[in-house]
Each structure stands twice: as C-alpha cells, then as structure tokens.
Symmetry: D2
Subunit: 379 residues, 4 copies
C-alpha cells in the first residue's frame, strides 16, 4: 500500500476491504511521504519493518528487487489524487499490478499516459470506483443489458453530501484539507464524488456522454475549489440526463443514487440502502429486488456473501473491487484467463474517461454553456 | 364552473375540493363548449337547468344579470389552458371573482392582461397551484421564513410522471389529447407540471429565478410538444437549482418533490407522502415533522382537518386553495379585510410568473444555453 | 345526524365523508343531549331550525311524521358508544336506515337486539369500520380470495396510538374524557381501536376467531379503563394471530397495520401510508401495488377517486362506507337490488361480532388465559 | 474454530467477522466431525495441516499441549446447538477462552454447568448474539439507560423469516436440516431466532421477564419442531411485551425489529436497515438517529467503523462481538482489566437466560397458558 497513513480514512477502508475474504494480506507499505509516520503506521499494522518504506519510489524499487514469491503481488494506491500518477507509474514500470483510488489523475495527460503504460507493461489496473461493487448495482446493469427497461431515455444520478457545508478545512480536518486543495485534489465535489456519479451511470446504462452543460459552484467563501455541481447531459443514443453532486447539502450524508428510465421500465437504486433495487415496468406493480435472493441474476449472486435479509453494505462492495481485481491478478500471475466475473472492475480507461469528464465539466462551468463531452480513452 | 364536462379529470377534482368543507355550493355552469354535453353534465350534477349554459359568454352575461344574492359569487375555470384567458376576462369584466386552473394562460400577453384586469376590476383571483395547499408545504415555507435552514443554497425540485411514455394521445384518451396539443396546452410537461415545480420552489423558498438553462425534449416520436424537461437555475441571492419534470419517466406516478438546502439546515417533502416533512439541521438527527401535531407552525395547523396519523391527501390540499380563496372572496363581498391565512393562495401575479417561466424555459431549450429569467408581473 | 355536537371529532369526519361525493345532504340533527348545544351546532351547519332537535327521541318521532320525500332517508349515529343502541333502536323502529359509529354497543345483549331489529324492520344498517373503506384494503381482501397467498397461516394486526399516554382526560379534553369513561365507552383501547383491528383482519382474511388469550392493561394510574391490549389468536382453519392495540405507545399516531402470511405469499398494509399494498410471493421480488392503477382488481378501482400518485387518504376511505351504504339505501328505497359493490360495508352482524370480541378479550384478560372466541351473530 | 465445515453458513460468517479488523487470525480448527471434511476445509482455509483436527476433543487436547504463545488464544464454536456444550466444556477445562454461537445449549442443565465452568476456570466466554453488536442497538440501550424514554411500558420485538415456509429440509438443504432436527437444534424458530429476539429486548431495555404465555406452532406438516411462535410477556417493573418469531412468514427475510415505548418516549430499530434508530419523544417530531454521526453516544461511536452514509451492516455488527470479546481476552491474557467497552458482549449468563427462555416458552406452549419466566443464571 502507498498512502493510508495515520488519520487517513480511505486507506483503512482499502485495508479492511482487501482483508474481508481472507485472500489478500498486507505485507509492505509506504504509508506517508513522512518516513516517521510511515514507520509508525507500519508498526500499528504489525508489518515487517524491513518492508515499511519512506517513499513510494523506495518501495517500488526494493520490492521489485525481492525474489519472485517474496515480493508484493500488486500495489494499492490510496494517496491524495495528485500522487496517483507518479506512484502508479513507478510501480507499473517495476512490473507490478495496481489497484488505485479515484479520480485516477488530476490531468488528462497523466491519465492517458497511464492508459498507455498499462498497455505497454501488460499489468492489471483496477480503479476503486467502489460503488459499482454493490451486487444490486450489478443487478441493475444486467437488467439494462437484458432489455428489461427498453431503450434508455432519462438518467438522474445524484451524489449529495453535506460534510463540507462549513469551512472545516480551516480547522485542520485532514480529509477536508486535501480534498479542498486544488493542487492535491484537482477538482472538489466534482472530482471527489461527481466522478463516482458519472461512473455509476455509465456502468449501469452502458451509455457514453455526448455533451454536457455544467453549473459549477463554490458556496463556502474562500474555498479555492468547487463544492457543488449540477449538470445537464446528453448521452449517446438520445438519452437525457441530470447529474448533480454536492458537498454543501446540509443533512445529506453519502446519498449517491440513480434512476434510469427507459421506454419499457425504470430502475432506481440508493447507496444508503444498497440491498434494494426498485424496478417498475410500464403497467404493473413496482418490484423490489432484494440482495441475496435466488431470483437475481448470476452476477448479483456472485458478488454477494450473505443470505437475504442479512444486510451487506459499503465494505463488501468495496471488497468486491478487490476480490475481482485480485482474481484477475491471480489468473494473470498464473498465466490463465480471468473469467468475465473476475474482470468486472473499473479499468484504467474508466479512469481516463472519469478525468476527461471532470475536466470537461469544469470547462463547461467556466464557459457557462454546453460543451462536447465525447471521449475515447487510449488503449 | 366553466369546463369540467363529462370525462374531464380536473373538473371533478375542483368540485370535490370545493365541496369538502361544506361552505361552497355549485349552482351554475358552462361545462362544455358543446351545449348538449354541458346540459348533460348539469343534469348529472342535479343543477337547475336554467343555470346550465351553452357557453362561458352566455353564462357570464346571464349570471351577471341575476339579482344580487341569486347570482354566483365566483367562477371556477377548469377548461384547457388556451380557454383560461377569454373565460377569465369575460367573468372579470362582468364583476365576478375567479378561481382558475393552471397554467394561467398560453401567452405572456394574456397573462399580463389578466393581471391588469384583476387590478382594474378589483376582483379576487386564485390560481389552483394546488400543491401549495398541503399543510406540510406551508410548514416548510414557514420554517424557511423563520430562518431554520439559514440562507438557501441549493434547491432540487422534481416532478416526474410516466403516464405519457407511450403515445396514448393517439388512442383518444381525453386527458392526453389536449395536454399534448400545443394549441390547447401551450407547452407539454413544462407547462402541465413543470409550472407546478416552479411554483412550489418559489412558494417555499421565497426566491425568484435570475437565469436558467433548460434541456427541453420530446421523446415520443411524432408528439408535437415537449414531454420532458430538465434545467439548471440561478436564483436571486446566489442559490443554485435543478428543476426537472417529465411525463415519460415510466413507473413514476405523480412524484413531485423538493429538497431545499440552506447554510444551516435542509428540508425535504414528497407529494406522494404529503403528511411528512423532513428537516435536518447541520449537526443533529433528522427530524420528521408529521401533519396534525401541536408542534407545527400555526399556518400548517390552520390548513389541516384531521388529527395526526389520520392521513390527509390531495383533495384536502386542493380544498385549501378553495377554502382560502373562498374566505377572501367572502370577506371582500362583506367589505371586510381577509386575514393572512385567507389570502394564502396563488395569485394572478403567480400565474403570470409561471407563464413567463414556461416561455423562458422553452426559449432556453431552443437557444441551447443560459437565458435571463428575471421577471416581475404587473400589478 | 345524532351526536356530533361542538368539539366532537368524529361527527365532523362523518359530515365531510358523507358530503365528499355530492350525493348526500345533511338536513336534520340532534347534535347533543343538551338542546342548546344542539341548536347551536345546527345553526353552525346552516340547517333549518325546525329540523334541529333536542333529543334523538324527538328527532326519530318528528322525522317519521314528515311526509315521504321530506323526511330524512337515514340517520347517522355518532354519539358516545353507550348511546348507539337506544338511538339506533328508536330510528329503526321508526323505519329509518342507519349508519352507526363503532363499537356498535357496549353489551352483547344490545348488539344482538340490534341484529334482530334490523332483520325485523328490514332496514339497511352500516357500521363505520372506516378502515375497510380503503381501496388497498379491498385489494388485499380480493387477493386473499383469489388465492394469491394460499392458505392463511399467520396474521399480525397492530393498532398503536400514543395520545393517551398521559392522563389528558383529567384536563377536560373531550375526546379523552368519554373514551376513558367505562360507562360511555364500554372498553378503552380494546373497544376504540382494538375492534378496528379485529374487523380489518376479519375483512381481509375472511377468517373467524376460534380462541384468544389477551393481556389487558391500564398503564396510566387511576384510569378506570384499559389503555393497552395484546393478544394471541387462533383462527378457524389453523391460522395463528397476534393482535395488539395501544393508546399509550408514545410517538405512535394512528398506526393501524396488518400483515397476513399464507402458504404461498404475504400481504402487508399500513393505514398511515394507505395507497400502498405490499405483496410477496414465495420466490420472487416484493411487489408494491399502488392505488389508482389499472392492474388492480375491480373493487379497488371502484372505490377509488383519483389517478395514481394523487394520494387519497382517510376521508375518502370513510366516504366509501357512506357511498356504498348510501347506494344500498337508495336501491332499497327504489325497490331495487343493490350490487355487490354497493353492499361492501360493515353490517350489524359485523358490529355484534366486534362487541363479542371486545367482551371476550376483556374476559380473557380477567381470567389470564385462553378463552373460546367463536361467535355467530343472529340474523 | 470448531464447526464451520464446507457448506456451513455461520462458520464463514464467524471467520469474516473475526478477520474484519485485522486483529485475529484463524490458526487451527476441527471443522467437522468427519475428519476428511475437516481436513478439506482446513486446506481451503490455507491452515497448517498439523493444526487441522478430526475432533474437538483432539483439538482441545493438542492445542493445550502446545507451548504458550503457539497455541490458540480462544476457540470459536460454530457447531449445531447440541454440540456447543461438550465442545465448550472441553476447551474451558483445557483453559481456553470461548466464543460460542447461540442458543448456548439445548438443556438448562448444560447451560448452568457452563456458567459454573466459566466461573471455576476464570475464562472469558462470549455468546454471539450478534444483533446486539449493531451500533444503533447500543445507541438505543444507552438512550434507555439515560432515561430518554422514561419508564418502559411496552416492548414489541419481532423476528419473522420465511425461508422455512416449505419443507426444504427434505431436499437436503444443510441449514434447514439441522435447524429442524430437535436433537441437534433443541428448539426450532424459538431457539434459532426467538432467542435473538429475547436477547435484543433484554439488552436494550435492561428488563427481565417475569411471566410469559406462548403459542408455539408447527405449520409445515411433518416437521418435528416449532416453526412459529408468538407470546405475551410480563416484564419486571410492569412493562408488557409481545414477542413473535417465525420461519414460515413468506416474504420476510431476516426482519428482526424492536419497538420500546416508555412513559416519555419510544425507540424503534430494524435489523434490515440497521444504520437508523427512530426516537420519538412525547410531543416533538420524530428523530432519526443515523450511524456514524457525532451526536451519537460514545458507545455507538466506539462500535462504528465508517463515516455516516457509508452503510455498515451485518458483518460489522458480528465483528463487534469478536472485537470486544477479543479485547477482553487480550486484556485477560495480559493480566489487565478490560474496559466497559471491551466487556460489551453477551455472556455465559446471557446464554443460560436464553436457554431458560426457550424452555419456558416451550412449556407455556404445551400448557397453553401463562407460566413463570423469572430466572437468574448462576455465577
């Protein structure tokens, strides 16, 4: 692991998610750019001190120098956004597979460079758009593919939070500090959570954006980065969309949710109640699909651990990204072909598409109008 | 009553709403532009045949000719939209008070002419934006005014329906036919329900629109009018908004809902579950306010009929528009001043603002960009 | 109307419910046993003073003496419980049809006497167990009859309220005063709301009770009547049940709800969210049936006024009892046979069954054990 | 671990729960009474074959013979119920701490013998009534203790499931087979889930049962054990209760839920939506407490891992039993005093109380009447 030092939120989440199913073990890390803090975190995690490093460069180099079978199988990158690219690059060039937090990079050049690097070095690269790990999100995607809602007409995807409604970054709150710093984060609400919304809508609907018109706002005075964004979207094939993400919506916690309306039916899912998927066909009662039941599609069942009514939640969904990426890495290491279930995780191209989305939305906000949003990532 | 012939939906709703509290009686009507149908409806309603008219002109003229105390006190206009203006004009000029369905007119000229007529003839004019009649909507408005959510930052107002997702207007369905005919309806989803969304947001927040950017779509092939609209909004004072309304959102019934986020708290209300209002302040648990309780504001209690837990719904809210307008009319007839509770109904200026909103949104859709949305109605 | 004087809750509800559809008119009343109060209420309701009476006896006698076509068609009895019997008797003997509030009487003798009187005088008698007036309750009943849940195994019916958790009857609150007075009410929570729960379960399931074991409690010190009851129930055919009703459940408003589990499926309905019925078959997703849709059974559509998504609530359900009883009365007056839809209202036999249930549960509470609950009302 | 062989549900849950926070490692096991199956499972779990045993006796003996620091710290017992006692006894006598699944034993003698053994050998014994591990259950308990609902009057605790509505035990379904076998399970729905309901109510309310009257039913023909139970309960201090548990309630998944009504307020919690706790005081709006927020009590925050809106669920709650028991075991091993947070897990006395409850309810069902339910476990 690179990043995830003392006080980091997402590093601990990655560790729990990776450990959940017993198939992965954390054996090495560069937990902080401060070597002391890195060492301190390594101790807390009961790691071999020899494998706790003071920098990502040192770690990439020294792990690569270990004999096969002793070195790490892959690296998990959980630093602030601006460090994703150099870290990933160092490990890919050293031949390691990568699991990386999102948004993938802060510039499109970096994102596209990563796409090419992944192709050149033939490594597995998984991006933790963790919300697509939920079984009922996979159920939704499968139902769209099966034609259960017909042709998609309208997509409403929302990601409101309220935790940045006051300038808590000035109190030294670590999460708030780097996420509101343009140098470390790139974009604010748009990058941190808007990119999850974009990814979720694309994952379920299978549709690419053609154009968008964004209203990008900073509500908290003095904050140098956006904390609220709303946009209109045109998707390929004629679907229309609304996407909004906010970190100043007081009272909202982590309310990512999506509605997809097609010619024949509709789907609705709420991250805060993730075990349920609402399906409505044109002329019958609403159906509530519940995780853990036999009537679900194979992919939803494959990504589920507990019986129905025994709720799963955020960690299990996050773990699904790790499990699937891990199986793909294991297959690759073994020279075997991963299954379609194994490769069901966000790729480096998804990451580049997300970065392009963020930059396009910022540009639309500056221009105050519609902009072209079409994009195909290299590789 | 003018309009509301056999098969009309909203006419029957108006009649039930007006009758609910026993203070109003339907005594005369021109229920259809077809004199036979008007007579037939008059019979069904057990009216005196002498007061069932073949046209609104005849009705305005003959009712005005009746002695004071025998003529109608006010007229209720429930025709298709394009007939609101000439009908209202005829009755106002004959000295009658008016309750009129929305949207008020199909052109801004007509709307502004009505504003001036109402002022000149000093009549009471109430527009049935019925959703503002709900007690918990009034509770929300009161809480915003009391500063319970601080300064408004973001407003999300949605009005999805699905009943026009297929071209049912071609099957002769009466509701669908006139509502998708530009001549009778003016605008489609935007006019029929988008205008309710605009009115609801303005009623609760007290904020006027400054600019908007709308995406106006017709999804059903061959339909000559919009059936879906999404827009970004800038409100006076810096608040941002998203408003979307749709009649092709399969599975949605009549899901008008609103969220208002302020600097200090948030409010959320759903028309399909109208007895509840959700309030979240920055740092405490969510509060669920329920209709019928002592802890509510006076205006919410004043507009409520039943104890808590005995749900009220659509008809009671609609009736509140009639009750309040009726009390204002009664006070006016008696030469007395109505109370602030009495005058709590949408006015002719609200109607003109709504028409301006509809036309501005259509213009924005045509221009594919932001347009100025500021407006002050005459009078 | 007999009863429903100033300050009475249920009298006003009856009046609004009866008036809702425009087919009934209140023309006479004995609104209070205090002649002054009765007169005062008559004035408030703008009745002809000649038809506002000082006692039910006077009203029954004088109305009966009016020529046919001028007298009332039926009487609506909304007094405290102990007065239902003598009032109903007087009007039935005078040849009038009756709509009567529940519980029907305070003794089984009175209840059975009413059954016989109704039979002897061949009048229509409707009891306002208003909750069975909800369209989705009728939908549930139809689905049970159609075998959609198989053989019923378990019924959970609950009716918690909290409004009597403190001794508010000592503050002079009128509702609380008579409802906690054994002489006027007969039983407390058990009679007032437990009887609704019993009726609802029987109406939907079609099952009669065979035995019950009740725990009858008075929580508020000094209150001379039960304010909480829980019971186990054995139904005919082997189904088991739990029924509990409470007026001291702080925070509950009027949360009547029922779950019926059969061998093949289950149904669930909540009075506070009355437009929805939840259906779960053994091995598919949950179905949410929503009022106002074409896919519902005929009886649910027949008892519905508004389109889907335009919520109906308590008053409409109450009105359905009046509408159906009114149609049956009208048919009877016209010498015609009412339809099955018309006669869908609680009868005098339902009333006697309810009284038997109340007295049996009280007896079980006293005996602290299971008692036989089988009963067939006369007539 | 003893038990948890191939195909076992709860064994895998225990393993994931124990592993979640990285503080425990599975190092040895006797996974099945069939030595081959045990070995097979040990391999699947990548354990040292030397520490995979063919029987619990062998495991207890051989682990005890290992040098300190190499042997297991505690044993986790996840066998069918009838094997809990001999297994626990063997390990306790060998000096090991124990985590044991529920219900603790199938006889009261065994349960009380365990209480005494735990006392004599001074070991830590934790019972996995996992539902008390939920943070919002702990919040509820803390609020009751703080007097937020006043004196408890009524407790409704329900645990409906539907998975045994058909005789699936005859199809060889492993879970169903042993859970419906009186020899292995002791009791059916009553023992499997009724005991969770009892424990949850006692944990939150702090109240002991005084008397109960149970209706114990077997609905599926030929099943030799109860599959449905409903009961009335008298608690110490005058509170009344209803407890029902069922495995034939078609459509229900794992719907454990509880409502506690006091003189001043009420609390409500649903296992299937575990991040929310509903609190209603007498005269204000309902409060929705949400996991992960600062306004919660210390114990709720202490037992929480993720920020608000990032839902936690079943596994985290289960893990909390392990974490707390693990900390108590670690403190004991280190000769230190565990904190009050550490010792917050169900004890051997809770287990004996649960067994007494099960047997008492079965007795009440046989007697068809109220029975004394008072009990104090030894030790």
């Amino acid at each position: 692991m690179v990043g995830g030092g003392p006080g980091a939120f997402i590093g601990a989440v990655h560790r729990k998610a990776a450990a959940l199913d017993g198939g992965m073990e954390l054996v090495a890390g560069a937990f902080s750019s401060n070597a002391d803090k890195s060492r301190q975190q390594g101790e807390a995690l009961m790691l071999d001190p020899a494998r706790v490093y003071g920098s990502y460069q040192e770690m990439a180099e020294k792990e690569a120098a270990l004999p096969e079978g002793e070195r790490i199988d892959f690296v998990s990158i959980v630093t602030p956004n601006h460090m994703h690219y150099p870290t990933a690059r160092a490990f890919i060039e050293a031949g390691f597979h990568v699991v990386c937090d999102k948004p993938m990079t802060t510039t499109l050049d970096d994102a596209e460079a990563l796409c090419r690097l992944v192709g050149q070095h033939d490594v597995v690269f998984a991006l933790t758009h963790n919300y697509t790990g939920y079984p009922m999100v996979k159920q939704a995607r499968a139902m769209v593919r099966e034609g259960r809602i017909g042709t998609v007409r309208k997509i409403i995807v929302e990601y409101p939070q309220g935790w940045l409604s006051q300038p808590i970054e000035r109190t030294g709150q670590k999460q708030a500090s780097w996420r509101t710093d343009p140098k470390q984060a790139g974009a604010g609400a748009l990058g941190d959570i808007g990119s999850h919304a974009e990814n979720l809508a694309r994952y379920i609907s299978g549709l690419e954006m053609e154009a968008l018109c964004a209203d990008v706002t900073t509500f908290v005075e003095g904050r140098p980065i956006d904390d609220d964004v709303s946009m209109l979207v045109h998707y390929a094939g004629g679907a229309r969309g609304v996407l909004h993400a906010s970190q100043i919506s007081v009272g909202e916690e982590n309310n990512l949710n999506i509605r997809i309306h097609g010619t024949e039916g509709s789907l609705q899912w709420f991250q805060e109640h993730p075990n349920y998927l609402y399906y409505r066909a044109g002329d019958g009662p609403e159906h509530v699909y519940k995780r853990g039941n036999d009537y679900l599609t194979e992919v939803a069942k494959h990504n589920s651990r507990l019986p129905s009514g025994h709720p799963e939640a955020f960690l299990e969904a996050f773990a699904n990204i790790y499990v699937n990426a891990g199986r793909t890495i294991a297959a690759t290491l073994a020279g075997e072909a991963p299954t379609a279930f194994d490769t069901d995780f966000p790729t480096v191209q998804d990451g580049a598409t997300g970065v392009h989305f963020i930059l396009t939305a910022l540009e639309s906000g500056r221009q105050k109008g519609w902009v072209d949003a079409q994009y195909t990532a290299p590789g």
